[in-house]
Symmetry: C2
Subunit: 443 residues, 2 copies
């Protein structure tokens, strides 16, 4: 086997014998375990990200993929520093806080200010500047639970846009209640945005118990002050990579069936659910498909880099392959944890809906219900869908996903091997059906 002539790969290669992969229905779980144990967190742009890329390239080769390569892209690198949030007298104590991804740090001595609490981003937008100026904004919106994670959309705006809205009103910093569904005392990170025409202020999240605690404190002592300190760094542009591997099609090798996940993760957990599970599922799918006999169309597995920073690898992929997107007959991504797949949503042309029905019937034995035709395909794949590539979403049960997502608690022990087997089976059925068909899903 050809090995990358780099230190990282040389070191990883020592592990080959220690973690032999078996091409069986536990393969997805094995791969996710290998990634999370041997690499762990892999923040986009970091040294660990580079190790994850090397790990993926090596594993693809070990799994017998026909072609394996990486595609570089540039990105803005962000590094988390120490963070602390303390309550001043009379209730002196520390709260559990984490920086939002992309946030600037505070001055070394921190920011000390009174608090302006809001129920939601919408309420903040309607506030008077006089009530916000020179304060730390606190958005205290809780999040509900369901299988599809539909509540995420209605709370994550505070994370993404809160800093801009708070800064417009003169706030010194913003903290939000974690976008998450657990009462465990973990703060939830995730990307936030600045706007070029608005001052940049530090943005952080407190855990749900700390948000509840802070609300109780403010009801007793509205004038209390918080001291926020964060030492994040924004070192500038670096290079990261998408990792791509193919099983070459036996009859129509130019037609690409793309299945994907993202290789990067946030840095506080080991990224087992987000998105180690997806990585394991799609890597295993291609390997087992080849074992079952080469498919007619080419199956391309893409592990996108820097999804967390805002689909950066996916956009680079779409740009680089713009001329060949018409050859992409299908795309899908696994990026919603490791829960069982319970519904098939499609994003097909009208003539392909009878194929969608057949596909769902094949999946019914795995407990998969019919869904609708409005699938996004997954975060990264939504970029390809926007260019007309047909997609499916194999919807996972995400009821508990936001208990762990983007927290230190996203670790391998949260994954049920049996659910991973069911995911792998559903991806195999779906990918095989499309890769062995000549249907045009665009029509």
């Amino acid at each position: 086997m050809k090995l990358w002539l780099t230190t990282i790969t040389a070191v990883l290669s020592l592990q080959l014998n220690a973690s032999e992969l078996k091409l069986d229905n536990n393969l997805a779980y094995q791969l996710t375990e290998s990634l999370t144990v041997e690499v762990g967190q892999r923040l986009a742009g970091s040294e660990a990200d580079a190790r994850a890329v090397a790990w993926a390239e090596q594993k693809f080769k070990q799994l017998g993929y026909d072609k394996v390569w990486t595609e570089p892209f540039t990105m803005q690198y962000w590094q988390r520093g120490q963070a602390s949030l303390t309550v001043s007298a009379p209730f002196q104590q520390s709260l559990v806080v984490t920086a939002l991804g992309g946030s600037i740090g505070t001055p070394f001595d921190g920011i000390n200010a009174q608090v302006a609490m809001f129920d939601s981003l919408e309420q903040l937008k309607q506030a008077d500047a006089a009530d916000v100026k020179d304060k730390i904004v606190f958005i205290n919106k809780s999040m509900g639970k369901d299988k599809l994670g539909t509540f995420y959309g209605s709370v994550v705006g505070a994370r993404a846009q809160g800093a801009v809205e708070a800064a417009k009103l003169g706030a010194k910093a913003i903290i939000i209640r974690s976008v998450g569904t657990s009462i465990n005392r973990f703060a939830h990170t995730g990307i936030m945005r600045y706007s070029d025409d608005v001052a940049r202020i530090p943005a952080a999240a407190v855990s749900v118990p700390d948000a509840i605690q802070l609300e109780k404190m403010l009801s007793r002592q509205p004038e209390l002050t918080l001291q926020l300190q964060m030492q994040n760094k924004l070192p500038g542009e670096v290079v990261s990579h998408n990792v791509i591997a193919e099983i070459t099609g036996s009859k129509r090798p130019d037609e690409i069936v793309l299945i994907s996940a993202h290789i990067d993760s946030w840095d506080e957990g080991t990224g087992a659910l987000d998105d180690g599970a997806g990585v394991g599922i799609v890597m295993a799918t291609g390997a087992l498909l080849k074992q079952q006999g080469r498919p007619e169309r080419t199956v391309r597995v893409v592990l996108f880099g820097n999804e967390e920073g805002g689909l950066v690898g996916a956009r680079a992929y779409a740009a680089k392959h713009a001329a060949k997107l018409k050859q992409h007959v299908f795309a899908s991504e696994s990026d919603f944890g490791a829960g069982r797949i319970w519904r098939l949503d499609t994003g097909f042309g009208p003539n392909a809906l009878s194929f969608a029905k057949t596909l769902q019937q094949q999946l019914a034995a795995l407990g998969v219900e019919p869904g609708d035709n409005t699938a996004s395909g997954g975060p990264d794949v939504s970029v390809l869908k926007a260019q007309g590539v047909p997609v499916v979403s194999l919807q996972q049960d995400g009821t508990d996903y936001f208990d762990y997502h983007h927290t230190p608690n996203d670790t391998m022990d949260k994954i049920d091997p049996a659910a991973m087997q069911q995911n792998l089976a559903a991806w195999l059925v779906t990918t095989a059906a499309i890769a062995n068909s000549s249907i045009d899903l665009r029509q």
Copy 2:
């Protein structure tokens, strides 16, 4: 109302109106909330411990207790510093770690060593020094769950004695799998011990997910090294306090019915379950008893200091009151979280067992079953029981207690107000029955 003429109390007094207490069946919950929100963590010997003592003295007065005072004792103060544990190449990553209470720190650059893993303290004791010398010992014993928390006893030995046993064999440090029942990624602290004739080595705990992760790494790479850094301080002797309050008995004021909890907590959570709940329950019990009519015997509520350091306040109390322990007709402590009381265990003389039966019958409506006569009375009260004081243990359902205990996740949101009401009712029934009786429970 007389106020302590200290800054702490002056500041606290501002809060009186903001958190008026209602003498109703929610009082225990209200008090626990007040303590955890307004003071938060209260590590024995710290400034926060002094604020908790001031809080308690003030609340006792506010609640209408007849006498309120503090009793000082000296103790060894221990302060947690930053802690980190990192895995070296090829699996570079950070593990979640916390210092065990009382542990020394490491040199500033940390301790870097290979790992000697053991299933239990017992297995470590039987190890060859050659396999342990200059390594970091890792005891990886998991803990089961039940209502009584009986598995705690069989795993906590590694926490208490592991450093001594590891040092005897030449280890550089010890880390243990957290003594806890949750897979959430929190490390569990708690007191550890040194021996004067054995070298002192740093001692820490990793979270359960990190213990599982480390075990998987070691199975792939037994030679890997860990880097442990901790910056704990042992500043020496300081003064802390027991806080004591009484409802004077109407007929037999010299006979003391002692109910108790401990005011200190570990420093990473807010000590809601351990032992804020107990503090709320026993403070409310005395206040509501007086409201219902003064009891015949004196009801003394003791909030012991520095239970976590090894029953330090309880021993000071027993020593100071040695001559009057015979007047202590009864003692009990609430220190097992906020779960419902489901069983009454007693530690009475043989002639009092019929009274135990009557008491249990009174508690039956609250769902309390009869237990045995081997009650300890609670950690601090065990010191009084050893001196012949009759006790009961109102056994709480502790099934989930060790999910939170001694971790950052021990916070107020884990407490069910209805369960607190049931606790308060059971403590009221029990305390009233004994305080309004003339029975000698020693006989």
